[in-house]
Subunit: 468 residues, 2 copies
Amino acid sequence: MSTTALPADFLQAIAEGFPADFLTREPGELLEYGRDWTRVYTPAPSAVALPRSTDEVSRLMALCHKHRVAVVPSGGRTGYAAGAVAAKGELVLSLKRMTRLGPVDLLGNTVRVQAGAITEAVHHHCAEHGLTWPVDFASKGSSTVGGNIATNAGGVKVIRYGLTRQWVLGLQVVTATGEVLELNGALEKNNTGTDLRQLFIGSEGTLGVVTEATLKLTPLPGKQDVFLFAVPDVAAVLRLFRDARQQPSFLISAYEFFTDRCLARLQRHRKVRSPFEAPSGCYVLLEAEAKDSAALEAWLGSLFERGLVTDGTLAQGVQQAQELWSLREGISESLAATGLPHKNDISLPVAALEAFCGELESVFAARYPGWEICLFGHIGDGNLHVNIMKPDAMEKAEFLAHTRQADPTMFGLVKKHGGSISAEHGIGLLKKDYLGYSRSPAELELMRALKRVMDPQGILNPGKVLDV
Amino acid sequence: MSTTALPADFLQAIAEGFPADFLTREPGELLEYGRDWTRVYTPAPSAVALPRSTDEVSRLMALCHKHRVAVVPSGGRTGYAAGAVAAKGELVLSLKRMTRLGPVDLLGNTVRVQAGAITEAVHHHCAEHGLTWPVDFASKGSSTVGGNIATNAGGVKVIRYGLTRQWVLGLQVVTATGEVLELNGALEKNNTGTDLRQLFIGSEGTLGVVTEATLKLTPLPGKQDVFLFAVPDVAAVLRLFRDARQQPSFLISAYEFFTDRCLARLQRHRKVRSPFEAPSGCYVLLEAEAKDSAALEAWLGSLFERGLVTDGTLAQGVQQAQELWSLREGISESLAATGLPHKNDISLPVAALEAFCGELESVFAARYPGWEICLFGHIGDGNLHVNIMKPDAMEKAEFLAHTRQADPTMFGLVKKHGGSISAEHGIGLLKKDYLGYSRSPAELELMRALKRVMDPQGILNPGKVLDV
């Protein structure tokens, strides 16, 4: 369902039961809170609610349920799938005032925080105690804990630490009817029937509103070494990965890759020099924590003679490490600054990556000759960011018409190789029509049935992920 | 629902559509397959089905759904909660013939196996390649992959590796209606709506039948050091834990504890000597993988002068390590051999353990003076195995009557401290009546609603975990 104007009796109940600044309908705020980092849909929320407590969220949801008001839960709005977009007159429920960080429990290695807490604020809060919440990615300065949980956020450290799901011990959720669920407390082990936490993690706000969480923490990692390697192609990226993964002398903290096309656009945009004399087909950024420095050095020394890399550089100190990382992290911005990328965030079984990339190149070369595909991503997790660049001579409208046809082609390849059409970004509105490439009819039916159980009026982020 | 005899038309359909040895009703096998490691309920299955393939499981479930035949999915039957007991004429669906182990994928670090594969067989299969599936506990020689998944098994390595949930990439499940779901393939990242895998992990066979899984593997750990420390009490166990956890020089692979009462019974039963001259209130077994051996040694050297331990010993070599481990792993057997233990498997937030243990002792001392409580467990995960021993002079019947009264008292304390009445063993039949101590009415209502969605006829492990 969707509403274009809020019912008068709903507004009256809000006015009577909540602080005067609880709801805003100021146009600039409607625009700001009505969208995320996608720029496809026109924001059009009816209002923005800004609760300060779980109790306010609970009472608000009970009212929305009663008056059938559609709600878009809202965190840092850094998503790329339009999961937090309010384009149909929904009420935005922003958690931005709920940013409390509880004391760090140094025996259990946990911390209780409100859902609106900024990811990086949690990092700073815990780092004082030598601990971290290892959910880490480029938007950590504005993404929120609640948003991370609602999208089961990934990022650059997944290969070492896993997804957000792994780092949430307890979850406080407000349901579509306003019920407050306290799930799992601060327990590592709790084998007492269905683990309801798991339903809400990654639900993109369609099953409940995350209001607080008890986060599991881990010691800050030790000294990290950062390497950049040049290799000829994706097959070589994977050969090196397999070899690196088998080394007992270090832990892999990140294994990222990008192609020469990505580097070329980064160089054009940022005016940086490549660390290597000769260009190469692919580059690998490896971040590793040594367990045995001598053995790690020996492994590095062996890479050339074993033909696993054609060139390589080790960052000397923190600044050089940041420079190498900026080659990887500056890509997304550089693609947007030097052209118009059509972005997809997909994943494959690691073992299927080489075949997939080969087929992708040849299918596109045949159908769209001369188009530039820029590949990069968290390849150690099977996660590829595929960026199809608009040819300079082509009109934007024509390009978008082509990409609408190209997406199903690529998703068909993804399906063929057992992959996912959305590795990290979620489905939201943007990929809803393609969900069938990654989920079977029986799965979709079950997902719809679960949604009907959790949200009988269909008021929680309606139209996101799937239609019920 | 339950059936005491199988419908004739169901039996005819089985006879026509399945091999001759698909179903057994041999009395010895009914007894064997009708129970797990609990000895509380009398096994009374109507028959045992022994499929060889997912297709057979699927066709069987479709028939059971049609004829409303209650089914108890069955793995290694090593559970302690009667989750795999068939006491009401159910059909046991044993996965024991489905033991196939696929090739190890050395690029993705995964392996596909059938649900009936024995845990230890998976370990051996992967160890050849330097990899392991780090789900590990005493019953690994008979527990199955499917059973581990259905109970989200824990064990002695959870502190390092987490629960079974973390090590399942793909899941093949047959639903109550016979539908085959292929969930998540072999993907690390797949953000495409509700992660249905998570519903089945830990569901104790009430939501679907796990038939195959793609397991996530990790490199075999490096050399492990095993230490046994003597400390005065639970507070000291936790002080040492907090200190150990903050050391960057080693990874904790296990942090187990037991009290002097456990050791005394172990010494009586196994005729072993304590490694220490003087008795102590509590003992800690620490297994650690050094990242910096010199720093680990320095830490060990500091423990006495800092008052963190009163005595300690390091295993010299594999045999001594096994001897120290046998002190911990022999406890359960020794308690049963030297008396009648009433067992509970609970968990608390680590930060609440000290207060909980103190209250438990004082409540029991006041109400049941002279009773012996033997505590041991995976204390680094907040997991306590509480064993109340029958006083020698008391009749068994009187003791059991007392423990029926004692359980709610203890569960009340567990609830007060935010704990779980079942850390690892699950709920099954044994703890069903107490589920409300760990789950709220709203959670129970939601769990029932999910069960109705997944199993509309109520034929999957009926009466286990909760009544619908």
